[in-house]
């Protein structure tokens, strides 16, 4: 079930999204963050929410770069009825995958030297919805969403 979802997202096409950034170099992280910020501003997100979205993308893009070497950050606007418009963020890679998804979501868990291990749990708190699909040897997909709030 989750595996199907993982494969489906890994196979998704660029034209299904508003923005797709390939992550392969450290500089690409800044590009992804910048694109997310721009899209959030265009959608009329508040400054605080724009910063949250940009930071979440930064975390996910860095994880791709660090743990999978390469992958994609994909962003799209969703114009939905009652809850208003929102931005969907997908981070997809065909890296080593995560054996225990629950474990990596615990605060402070890291396999990277001197890292804080709070990126994924932080992204979950920064976003309105968060899901992670992963299979060892297949890759990892994170799907998160942020609704636009009006002040």
């Amino acid at each position: 079930m989750d595996l199907e979802k993982l494969e489906a997202i890994l196979a998704s096409q660029s034209h299904e999204f508003d923005v797709v950034v390939r992550i392969a170099k450290e500089e690409d992280i800044a590009v992804a963050r910048q694109m997310a910020k721009k899209l959030a501003q265009e959608m009329g997100f508040s400054l605080a929410d724009t910063t949250k979205v940009a930071t979440a993308v930064s975390e996910l893009a860095r994880n791709i770069y660090r743990y999978a070497q390469q992958g994609r950050i994909m962003l799209r606007k969703k114009e939905e009825g009652k809850s208003g418009p929102s931005m969907e963020i997908i981070a997809a890679d065909q890296g080593p995958g995560i054996p225990d998804v629950e474990l990596v979501l615990t605060k402070g868990y890291t396999t990277y030297e001197r890292s804080l291990g709070i990126g994924l749990s932080g992204v979950k708190r920064l976003m309105d919805s968060f899901a992670i699909y992963s299979a060892p040897g297949r890759g990892t997909v994170v799907v998160a969403e942020k609704r636009r709030r009006r002040f």
Binding site: E26, E27, I29, A30, R33, L47, A48, T50, T51, K52, A54, T55, S58, E59, R62, K107, R114, S115, L116, I118, G119, S121, G122, R125, L126
Partner: protein, 251 residues
């Protein structure tokens, strides 16, 4: 041996600009000098100038053309020297580049001594791991060389702090404190504060100031406190010293 005028004609044929023609003439002159074996260094240095005048590919093409024109042209040797010259050129360019990069890093994050025993680090722009490393190294060197007591870190110009930048700041603060200086952090914008709280990054070990003015006021108070403590310590040491040496005791 080649008559100089023949070599000059060849140089004119091959050179596209007066400067280049002159260099080729110089090079051919040295190569076929009557004294026989010319110093490698002299040849390499002329080739080096040619490499700067031309790109590497046209240079190689012209050496090949010369070899075709002159039967006794030592093509293998000249190619070897040209490679060496291009290598030197590249090394020098890389040195200049890394020098510039360092200058840029220093310009991008100035570390200013704003008060007795007090440094100000003004961070501006996005911080990647290379820059982070750079800033921390320079700051720690400055703290130890100036024996600063207080470091004010201003992040007003930093648009976003994720867990990597946050982790870097925490490490830098801890190292600064190990060197005996207090850290005052200022310039966290409201939207950044929001995000930091959600992420769970906290800067517990340092004091946070509302703005630069607040930071300065606290910093000055800290350095004055430090000076006062030192004076007291010196005084009490002097007193106890007198007590020990005084055979009759204090009273």
């Amino acid at each position: 041996m080649h008559a100089p005028q023949n070599l000059s004609a060849l140089a004119r044929k091959i050179g596209r600009t007066p400067a280049e023609t002159q260099l080729w003439e110089e090079f051919l002159g040295k190569l076929f000098a009557a004294e026989g074996a010319q110093e490698e260094a002299a040849l390499t240095s002329t080739l080096r100038s040619l490499a700067e005048e031309l790109e590497e590919e046209p240079l190689a093409a012209k050496i090949a053309a010369l070899a075709a024109e002159l039967p006794e042209f030592p093509a293998t040797r000249v190619f070897q020297l040209a490679l060496k010259a291009c290598g030197e050129k590249r090394r020098e360019q890389e040195e200049t580049l890394s020098h510039l990069r360092q200058m840029l890093a220093e310009l991008a994050t100035p570390i200013i001594r704003i008060w007795t025993d007090m440094l100000l680090v003004a961070m501006i722009g996005n911080i990647d791991s290379q820059r982070a490393q750079d800033i921390a190294e320079r700051l720690l060197n400055r703290v130890s060389s100036t024996r600063a007591k207080v470091v004010i870190v201003d992040v007003t110009g930093v648009p976003m702090i994720d867990t990597v930048v946050g982790g870097f700041l925490i490490e830098m603060f801890n190292a600064t404190r190990l060197l005996g200086a207090e850290v005052i952090l200022t310039g966290i914008k409201p939207e950044v504060a929001h995000t930091l709280v959600k992420l769970g990054v906290d800067f517990q070990t340092v004091s946070i100031a509302r703005d630069l003015e607040d930071a300065l006021r606290r910093g000055i108070a800290l350095t004055m406190e430090e000076t006062r403590k030192r004076r007291e310590l010196a005084l009490s040491l002097a007193k106890s010293g007198v007590g020990e040496n005084d055979e009759r005791g204090a009273f």
